[in-house]
Structure formats: C-alpha cells, structure tokens
Amino acid sequence: MIVDSIDALTLAEVNNVLPNQITIFGLTVQLMWQPIELKPQSEYECTPEHFYLNICDVAAYWVNPQLNQIIIERVDATINYTIVSTWLFGTVMAYLLQYHGYLVLHGSAVLISQQAVIFSGDSGAGKSTTAGALVKKGYPLLTDDVVVVKTLADGTMVLIPGPPKLKLWADALTLLEHDSNGLQPVVNKRDKYQFPTDNHEVKLYPIGRFYELNPDTIVKGISCDELFGIDKLHILIKNTYRYNMLKPLNQLSIHFKSCSKLSTQINVFQIRLLRDSQSMAKIIDLVENHTAKIN
C-alpha cells in the first residue's frame, strides 16, 4: 500500500497498516517489511553506503541511501507501525537526510507569524512540551524532535515540516490538560505518548528564531540571552541531531557551512528556566513578546 501523504500516514497507524512508501521531510522512501540479509554483528553501523540500527526487542533497520530504501525487520507482529516509527522518523530518517546534505537539528518547531521558530536543547529540556503549549495557543506544529533545514537556490534556509505528531511525557500531558487514554504509547521512553495534532503543513518555511532551552535550578523563573557571532554557530552545532553520523558520512564540511549560513539568517537565544508549573506560561510570554518586538 502506498502512503504518500501525511493524512494517509496517520490512517496507516490507526489501521495498523504497514506502508510500502512514505514521503517524509520531503523525501520519498521505500519501506520493505522483511528480514534483513547478512546482518552486521554490531547493533549500529553508519557508512556512506549503508546504515544499520538494531533496537533490541523491537526491530532492525537497514538503509540503502542510494535507493532511498529502508528494510525493517520487526521482532514479531506485535510491533506495530507506531512503535517502528519512533526510530524510523528519528535516527533512521536523520541518516538519510544527512546523507542527502540536509541540516538536521535536535528540536521542535512551530509556526509564528509565517516563520518557523525552533526550540532545542537536551533530552528532557522541554522542547516537545513547549511546542505542545504553543500548539494549544493556536500556533501550528511544524515538527517535533527532528528539525530539517534545507538551503534554497538563493541561499535562504528553510524548514521542512515533519510528521504532525508530538511526543509528550505523561506529566507534560497533565500540564497541557490532555489525558493519555486513547493515545498510542511510544516504547522505550518512559510514559511518553504520541498524540496527533491537527495540521498538515507541507510548505517550506523561512526560519526566524532558535531557542535553546536549559533547565536550571538556580535561575529565578526564566532568563533569556540573545547570542551573537561565534556563540550562535556553536549553539547550532551543539544541537545537531546525531552529530556522530556526520563524519562517517563525510558530511562534516557541509554541516559546518550550513550551520554557519543559518547563524547569519536567524536570531538565536539561550533560555534558562526553572521547571515548575509556571514555566510554560513564562516561555509563551517570552516568545510572544519577541514576536511583538520583531513585527
């Protein structure tokens, strides 16, 4: 079954269908649900010719980047598409995207005043929760966890939207007043659920702002510093998705130049905040104040 739109993707999950083809982040990829021949000994291999990832008790993934083909060998039939998609839309797609020269950063993004605004930071820093809070306020979700940036012919760097899903922790769901009944669990992440969001943006968006979130126990409430020059470049490099794949893929140079170019086109901020019941409201205020200043 060919699934070539985001709507059909969601439908596939609901119906537990295994799609043969998906278009994600603008790339059309063949999916083959079958055993992987000649499996490597190790759990992970990353070369310019292939990518292999074995997730224990779930599935193994083999990528042929020249054909944009992914072979997925599930441990058994109880592993449905939703579970497989956790790594498929993350590390596996990141390999393909980096192979093709896209800039892949770790973060979530929403659309504010026709520009992509990115929230980045370490795991657990609050990227998805912040995006979820902004979605609740009416800002369309562009991507969660994986930020994909493409350079257009005129040099403008744009964000390519991802699958319309947010992965949220149970306590974040409570904060946003959703309950977890009826939501699909995402394996291997304690109490994290996927819930579909309403929009299916497939256009490309210029990028306006990048916020790095840093949970902090000392700061009173929230602090925000705008970064300039080399510090901007450093933050973008630091928040790259699966940085360690770039060298084996011989993409370190392109990645470096992309981060440098992006740093000249956007505003970059470092936020420190105390994680409490007020932190989402504070971030939203801050982001909306910035929007007002820019407009």
Binding site: G229, I230, L233, H234, K247, L252, S253, S260, S263
Partner: protein, 95 residues
C-alpha cells in the same frame, strides 16, 4: 615554543580543513580531529594571508602594514599564533 625560521615559507594544510567566516572572523573545522578553531581579527588576517605561502617575516610585515604598528608590537603574538597553528596541524613548512 618552537623556533621558527623566519624566512622559511609556511603554507596552510587545506585538505583537512573547512573554513567559514562569522562576523569577519575566520572559523575553521578540522575534519580529521573534529575540532573547531575560532580566530580573532589578527589570527583571521594571518590565516587569510596564508592563502599563499608566506614566511614569518612576510606575515609580520603584513600585519605591520595593515595596522600601522611596529614590528616589535606584533612579532611575539604572531610567533605564538604560528606555534599554536603548527601544533594543531593547521599549517606546515613548505618543503
């Protein structure tokens, strides 16, 4: 501190390095060791000057001419920069 023959030509080791410019300063990525290097204004001038092989004396002259300062003012700093750049395998002597 390495003793540098001031008349011997020095060249960049370009093959392992990707460079970019951020607000007028040169930033390098050394692909082999994965390190990033950020040069200040003078360091950027020296790196850019080494687009063709130059000796230490010629580099000193370049800086002296550009900033209208004396040789004494900059020679020691240039020697330090060269030492660092040699150590990090960013430059080498021309054979």
């Amino acid at each position: 501190m390495l003793e540098i023959n001031p008349t011997k030509k020095i060249q960049r080791i370009d093959k392992d390095v990707t460079e970019t410019e951020v607000e007028g300063s040169v930033v390098l990525l050394h692909i082999e060791n994965g390190q990033y290097y950020n040069f200040n204004k003078t360091g950027s001038d020296l790196w850019n000057g080494l687009a063709q092989p130059l000796s230490m004396n010629e580099l000193v002259k370049l800086i002296v001419d550009k900033y209208s300062i004396t040789t004494d003012d900059c020679q020691k700093d240039i020697l330090v920069w060269l030492n660092d750049a040699f150590e990090h395998k960013l430059i080498q002597f021309v054979d």
